[in-house]
Symmetry: D2
Subunit: 342 residues, 4 copies
């Protein structure tokens, strides 16, 4: 049974594995002080256009989020995010476990705006409440949408004016930056956020996220934090070789584009049948709303998430594509959709 | 310059990599619910002789330690370890960061005994002090020594009588279990500890430690803890395939034995020159005490840790071997030792 | 300017002070092991009808809440409360600072019901989300309402069936238990909650809350927690003498009744003018909705909270009475209301 | 049986109670924003000679310590103290519970010096270990000794040169500042520490410690921390009135001097019999070493701590005096000592 359940069902992209294998026997320093981490950092800094940024490699998204957020905040400070934000729901209270409250605001498309944040700031007026300090956004969002350049610029300008730190979770940043409607570059992220991370796990790596600290005033001694939270790999080369491969010849973008294209082919199949979507399909996660009769038929041959019940007869499903999604699997899936008599 | 600095200078053992590569394109469930983790667990449970034990795979030793210890203790409870214990010194306060005090006792050979623990228990008599709850030991210890079967049995009997939990850090468990003087088996560890972990990172894997919970009453919902601390890998298969390879045809033990043998060859070289050791060389870490003149000569061609100054003219150095330590490197090193005129 | 802003504007009730003074020179053991704490505990246990309950005295409500909740939960567990719950908003993230997520549900009257909790339990289905463990309620609620006996019984039955712990914040429990419509006794609270606290600070004491642990299986070694969080007073007699005084000859209830009666007199003044309330006035906090013209006039002579804007011309205000609220102050306030031409 | 067990066996000094009673019915703002806290702050600032210092009132010493230390440090930072330091042993891991390691050094007289701290700083050299950030001292120390002006000056100069924060626990600061051999003033503490607290609980108050922040760059938003840790009293006046009384007409010093004088009378009684002390008696805690035969006789009529066994026939005891220690009790005690035939 073919799975469209997520973008981490398979291992790593062959070119990522190749670099890992090629260097396997070379002796290197431990804990991320190896030549490959340095190599990857140079490649990413060049892409960002900021050789002064600080880059750290960690294993996964929840780890990146809890490391960054706990390093940014004093005990009584809090982070603001959308209700759909990964840190708010799907990280088992990882941020609270570091002692910080997560303040949520309802955001239909999963994106934060100054208008949504303002009432939170206004409400938290004294020492009987937490002090909002960081704004957490994700791109793509948890429901597949992306930020426009204007949206990100305005959000960052607002944050700077308010003394708020803007942090962007880039678990699926590859997909965001290669979406057809995308206007942002890695250099823009460096300019319009304080800190962000570039997701490897969901874009062709075995594991790994690259945390990019643009505003180095905000975090010092980050390697102490990484070690303390159990996130400093002895064989840091495992992360370095992969990110080095991903940022050689733009493999990172090529992989993400493949995933997006497969998602767009899937989306068109639904559109041709007149099906609607929960959010406009633009990235490697799409959310078509299908009749339950079709849902049952698809479940016979494919694995995917039922996202939410829409009404008695319709369900929103989530399909996710990746570097490994084959044309055949997409074609097989669409055949079932096309054959549906609704 | 060849390095004897640690056992994580190279990548993974070829057979470990092979299993990773062979399975790379097979779709699998995420978060450790893949077929390879299940495969590895079955193999380890068989080796332990306890199909009822619970096994979880995480990235590294500090992560394993903080996950286990924070899951075992209530906020006011504390863990006892040797002053040389890894959690006491070299984990950047990871245990304290989860809210718990680490109580240390001086132990010359790095090993805990009931006699060493008793005064700590006696001293902590009321609610103005923390409540000792867990005893942390490591095998091999941080200074290369190993526990005899009798020592472990007596320690566990004491812990059980006192209501203390015994947890064993097995970052270098492979080396311990294949030392010439070793009397313990994995099955013994299952019988004489409550929880232990089997180290992969320092024994042929790219990363990974297998936490074995023998006494399941002590920890529930451990996957919640793993997720919350950012330790649940989306592509958990990365850990499963490696441990599956390590426990197929006893590769884990074969690798460790190789490392030990290379260490013993090195040790003999020093013994033949009449040099002493900080602790008796039995595992893949040896601590010869060398004249500073030899030290300087060795540093020209080799990389290793200077462990501690012994006197004005002598230094204790640490040499570590691994699956990847070559005969040539050992021979070259010993040649320098043999050539030394002291 | 007379203040109806809260129930802690004055010091302590004269009888509470008297017991403190009378015993001032008697030598006593420290840390709550004095004769007065024992005296208070015996009096409270008798009132509860449970000599087996465990009682601890601490300084304030936020302290009581964070002590109890952090003692009840494992790191990945969470507490459910109403959106208006004190722990959710007005404790500066005290619960999150102990590592736990606070899950909120919208509850118009500030009270939780099984129907409101069920969806939260259903939603939190796996280890990617926190595990709900405690239900937090307050009586009176933060908006002055009280639980009926049936409501509390049903809620507790639901919690027990679901393996949830029920904890009641009784910062204003005196007011709740002496409200005209109240059906609950302290003995009922012992029967229908697992843990609750009896508020002294807002009912005639200088400071102090008595935490009552009915279900002793749920918390052990609580004095360790109290000491660790900085809540164990050296001169614990300060809390003991006050609670002893409060539970001698039912002073606790007498004080609360006085506060309620003054509040009801105030409420009638608004009702006579046809003004509405945010919630039905039953306890020592009332929330009349007044025209802004009257609001301005009242602010000239009295201090109180503006709770929320209702519309362009009306505001909900909060008035709080206490053991110290004088007839004269009430009469003066009502005169201004009566004189208002609306 | 008269107790010399501690300095918190009785309630408050009559003048402290008087101010509490006199103001009991005056309406005041809550949470430390009352007129009496302001009054106390003005008096203390004047005494310190620094009207720019920030002063906060909290309930007890452990609370003060955990509040200050957790506010001063980032998660990976640690505090250095003497092995006898209160935070190291007798606060149930309160500092670790806020996530920070306590690094201890052996100090025979309970006092830290640059020479004792230097090796700790040197040892903690990289991100695998915690980063020392704060130096914690107490005056008087836990074993009754006091810092000379030169000692404190040199320690502070060292801390400043090293980027370390110096924090002084003044639970028994009154006794220190009124010892016969004392050279320090409150103004000196303001000049030679970054933060310190003035202990009220052990010097005539019912409860309360005044935290003095000299270096305001180091802590911001401290009221948020106080609230979050459950330490912000609703009736903050309880702390304000007491400190106002203590710093009116130097009552604070007068009380402490009385305690010291009683202790010196006791000390002379032992000296006259030729008994030795664990540490030189200078403050309100003295540590005579007595024959076990005398110990048994004293225990018949008096309560006090047995501090430590010295040899088979001698024990060190701790005697503590306070504002309330009577001449009669001292005379009675000394009579037993004088009568001893050793």
């Amino acid at each position: 049974m073919y799975s469209f359940k997520n973008d981490y069902s398979e291992g790593a992209h062959p070119k990522v594995l190749a670099h890992l294998l090629d260097t396997n026997l070379v002796q290197q320093a431990g804990y991320g002080e190896d030549a490959y981490c340095a190599e990857a950092t140079a490649l990413i800094q060049q892409k960002i256009g900021n050789t002064d940024s600080e880059i750290h490699y960690v294993s996964g998204g929840t780890q990146a989020n809890l490391l960054v957020l706990s390093a940014l905040m004093k005990p009584f400070e809090a982070v603001i995010c959308a209700e759909s934000g990964h840190i708010a729901v799907h990280e088992t209270g990882a941020i609270e476990a570091t002692g910080h409250k997560v303040l949520t605001v309802s955001a239909e498309d999963g994106k934060l705006t100054p208008a949504l944040i303002k009432p939170v700031i206004a409400y938290h007026s004294d020492e009987h409440m937490v002090l909002p300090r960081v704004v957490y956004i994700s791109n793509t969002t948890e429901i597949g949408t992306i930020y426009s350049k204007k949206e990100l610029q305005e959000l960052y300008a607002y944050c700077q004016a308010q003394g708020l730190i803007l942090y962007l979770d880039g678990a699926r940043l590859g997909s965001a930056l290669t979406a057809a409607s995308n206007e942002l570059t890695l250099a823009d992220l460096s300019a319009f956020t304080d800190i962000f991370y570039i997701g490897g796990t969901k874009n062709g790596a075995l594991l790994g996220e690259a945390i990019v600290i643009n505003n180095k005033m905000l975090i010092t001694h980050f390697r102490f934090s990484i070690k303390q939270r159990g996130a400093l790999l002895a064989k840091g080369r495992l992360l370095g070789t992969q990110f080095s491969a991903l940022f050689t010849n733009d493999l990172f973008f090529e992989i993400a584009q493949h995933a997006n294209q497969q998602a767009m082919v899937l989306a068109r199949g639904f559109q041709e049948k007149g099906f609607k979507f929960l959010t406009e399909p633009v990235s490697n996660q799409i959310f078509p709303i299908v009749p339950n009769t079709l849902l049952s038929r698809l479940q016979e041959d494919f694995d995917f998430h039922c996202w939410q019940k829409i009404d008695q007869e319709h369900t929103c499903i989530r399909l996710v594509t990746s570097w490994a999604t084959t044309d055949q699997a997409v074609a097989d899936f669409l055949q079932v959709v096309a054959d549906h008599k609704g």
